[in-house]
Symmetry: C2
């Protein structure tokens, strides 16, 4: 039942920590294959899921139907580019009090919130 070390998991973790672009499972798979050509896509999915449960990663859903992952597990917001699909970190302060504000007009327990922006990113503006 105990957690055992695995090179693959370690490689996935290191890759994720080196990234700020919130890769999907498939994107991780493509990159990890440089180092581990035989790694299986299932292994990537399983370890991303495991690392998320361990609190080392955060699963991010920005509305494109794909699961993105982020090694920065602090509360922060994201931007999704409708043009190129990039997921970018927002620098604005997170609004911690918003859960309390929302609670006042809601019958239930609010545990968390997710705020995602979308539009056109800086790189795509010239093209559009």
């Amino acid at each position: 039942m105990a957690l055992k070390y695995s090179r693959q998991r370690e490689a996935i973790k290191e890759f994720m920590m080196s990234r700020k672009d919130h890769p999907t499972a498939d994107s991780v798979y493509m990159h990890i294959r440089d180092e581990y050509p035989n790694i299986s896509l299932g292994t990537v999915y399983r370890n991303l899921q495991l690392l998320t449960e361990l609190g080392e990663l955060q699963k991010i859903r920005v509305g494109d139907g794909l699961d993105h992952f982020d090694a920065d597990t602090s509360l922060h917001y994201h931007f999704y580019c409708n043009e190129c699909g990039a997921v970018i970190d927002m620098n604005m302060d997170s609004i911690k009090e918003i859960n309390d504000i929302a609670s006042k007009t809601f019958d239930g327990i609010i545990e968390s919130h997710n705020l995602t922006f979308s539009g056109i990113c800086g790189k795509c503006i010239p093209k559009s």
Copy 2:
């Protein structure tokens, strides 16, 4: 190229307008079958998509991996119950200025934002 009337689309539209629980395509399909036993799931998907493009519906993604639809196309927020999966409207005011606030620290064009809360809804608190 012109849009033609269809009973099925009209039925889907009316069903959606009678609902406040943000049904998924499958849920719409199940209900519409009472009236149209032969309707196809593909027809439901196609018309939900079409009605969304026409601006009569709004597609909502609350992070459960399913597409929910809402006949209330105004800007408002939703709550997702981690216990029963219900998607519930929030009564709080929408923060229109938040796009401007976010724009100040972001290089790109922010067109919209999506704010979703999650936790345990009123009906599920007694059980938990």
